[in-house]
Amino acid sequence: MENVGFFGVVIGLIGRLWPVWASLIIVLVVSYRYRKSLGLAGRIFDNGIGVVGLAICLFWLFTAVFANIVAPLDPRVQVAVMKNAVPGSIDPASGITFLLGGDQLARDVFSRAVYGARIVLTIAPAATMIALLVGITLGLPAGYFGGKIDQVLSFLANLVLAFPVILLFYLLVTPGIMDTPIPYAMAGVLFLFPIIFFAVLFYTRYNGRPERLYPLLAITIILGAWLYFGLVFNADPLGIVSIQPNELNIFVAVVFASSPGVFRIVRGLVMDIETRDYIAAAQTRGESPWYTMLWEILPNARGPLIVDASLRIGYTTILLGTLGFFGLGMGPESPDWGTAIKDGSQVAQLRLFVWGGLTPAVALMSFVLGLNMLADALREESMKD
């Protein structure tokens, strides 16, 4: 079998990823040009670690977006001759170079890693956003009102936090559980929070101005209901939003595991911000509690929350990898990084054909590293205020 050699692989990788480089350069140049008007995001450019982190995150984002252009092959396609092929081998039949080799089922490792990025970069940020909204919606009243509400909610959050993550996953993400209504019930409850959050957000702000309130509420409810039915019941009337039962299960488990953490952070932030003068001013003006929470406290808690969100996306990526690594939830053929790491980490594979496990492992590590560096830079820059 022909091989393009080490430099051939490097040049091939750079070449295949051209749409990624192009968009990366455009975005970085444009945002550097307008960094002054970008606020906190623009100040990342003052921080070396932040620029590197941002570049890594954008790299994976664009790889996920352009996955079908970047990857030469479908992630599930098997080319029998290429079983455990060395990186850089050329498939004699089609002439396609397997830049990072073939795995034990004769699939292209590079294509799988690229499509894996698409799965990871869809689920991790989306699950983090939902977890953030759940945590905010529950953490605000707990911190603001205190008392009984706080006690009950904190107890529940501590219950979930005291659950070892791995045990939670083994209990929640087994194949059998999809026959029971539990994942759907949990999805039904968790996905309700974003709708409640936005509805209350708009209601408190535009309470006296019906011409602004009703359109916004209508958009929230229609959009929310559409996504809600598509995701929870898999019954989108338009057929655009759909989710596999096992994906829903993973999604719910990840949201459930990470929202108590957000709850705790939000609660702590609220208790701190509540003592400021501008909150007292809002209360004296006679603003409703929810207005004060959503429009006075929340905007002032955004710094730590943004930092936490970017750390949390990384943490969610690690959780997804753990799920894949134990073969929970994701299908056996799924190209996501965790499953690929599991496939590549069997003893024989790891001894002789290291590229199958190493590629997704490096991919996952670099993405999380990028997010952590970005979070670190954001934290440092927001402290300078």
């Binding site: 005291a162 045990l167 083994y170 059998g176 029971t180 990898g321 980490s345 790891l350 002789l352 997010l371």
Partner: protein, 345 residues
């Protein structure tokens, strides 16, 4: 102090009760029971037979009664064979009481493992011992290293040492066990051949540098970064305090200030963090033991979950919850002891 301790203990017991009920509920879900019945009766048994089996062995009783039996606050009734009228155990390989007795977790009866065909109490202690050994070495590596990194980085904020060490610790927090395990195995076992990529021999023939280094390193890497960052943050904060400046102005050397004045106060926060790392280490244990095939608690948990071994999974769940809650309790009490500014009553 005593009432604080009692209150914490009460909350902990309540949490424990709730969590064990949740675990109990999830482990005894209908699909799991059906699988168990299929496995225990012959494969060709009809649905009616399976249903009968479940009914006879008490899996169809009230949830609360079942939970009470498992806890040991409700008597376990022996299963009577309809043909002979003699009491028979649920599973051939475990003894069960022949007269109604209180026999559950509280009495020390952890039930019967269907995957290993032995009482759970036969497997659990040795697995816990193996994991305890692993944890001990991980802590021995992780704690000094991460504290040193954190103190060195936080000593002079913004210096070159600080930058380098901070990037290193960010890198280590981005490396979960299943990534570092693979990379370390590739480098040290496949490529250099210095170390053993499997710790299976460690459980049988005792640990050695050859078979135990990789699992310990794999687990230590992920936690190190986090503790180091917390230590750094705490150290940075302490170094800006007035009393540090006073000590410097008195003419003490920088080293003496760090060692005598800063260190003690800077190490309070990391203590809590280290204790709260235990729940995380539990996940790490499961991953690491699976990668390196080390037959400890994590390995047992994976076996129990993937073989639908109800009693074993329940016991594993109970123990992991107990570990998490105990470490939380210790960290709270230890924090109150270490920090003179916090007074509990």
């Amino acid at each position: 102090m005593f009432t604080f301790f009692l209150r914490r203990l009460g909350v902990m017991l309540l949490t424990m009760l709730c969590l064990s009920f949740v675990v109990f509920f999830f482990v005894n879900l209908e699909p799991n029971l059906r699988k168990l019945a299929t496995f225990q009766t012959e494969m060709r048994a009809s649905d009616q037979d399976k249903e009968n089996w479940l009914q006879r062995n008490g899996y169809r009783d009230n949830y609360l009664v079942q939970f009470g039996r498992w806890m040991g606050v409700w008597p376990k009734v022996p299963v009577i064979d309809p043909k002979t009228g003699e009491p028979v155990p649920r599973f051939r390989f475990c003894d069960e009481p022949v007269v109604p007795t209180y026999s559950g977790i509280l009495e020390g009866d952890f039930g019967c493992s269907t995957a290993f065909r032995t009482p759970v109490s036969q497997r659990l202690p040795q697995a816990l011992k193996a994991t305890g050994l692993l944890m001990f070495w991980v802590m021995l590596v992780m704690v000094p290293v991460s504290l040193t990194i954190g103190v060195l980085a936080g000593m002079r904020e913004g210096s070159r040492t600080d930058r380098t060490l901070s990037v290193t610790s960010i890198g280590s927090t981005a490396t979960p066990e299943y990534v570092s395990g693979i990379i370390l195995t590739i480098i040290f076992a496949s490529w250099l051949g210095w170390l053993n990529g499997s710790a299976a021999t460690a459980a049988r023939r005792g640990i050695s540098l050859y078979n135990f280094t990789l699992p310990v390193l794999t687990m230590a890497i992920y936690g190190t970064g986090y503790i180091a960052r917390m230590t750094r943050a705490s150290m940075v904060e302490v170094m800006t305090q007035q009393y540090i400046r006073t000590a410097r102005l008195k003419g003490l050397s920088f080293g003496a200030v760090v060692m005598k004045h800063a260190l003690r106060n800077a190490l309070i926060a990391p203590f809590t963090v280290i204790m709260l790392q235990f729940p995380w280490l539990l996940t790490g244990v499961v991953v690491t033991e699976s990668i390196f095939n080390y037959k400890g608690f994590g390995w047992l948990l994976v076996q129990a979950a993937s073989n639908n071994d109800i009693d074993l999974l329940l016991s594993c769940g109970l123990i992991s919850v107990l570990i998490v809650l105990l470490t939380q309790l210790i960290s709270d009490i230890g924090y109150a002891f270490l920090n003179p500014r916090i007074r509990v009553g």
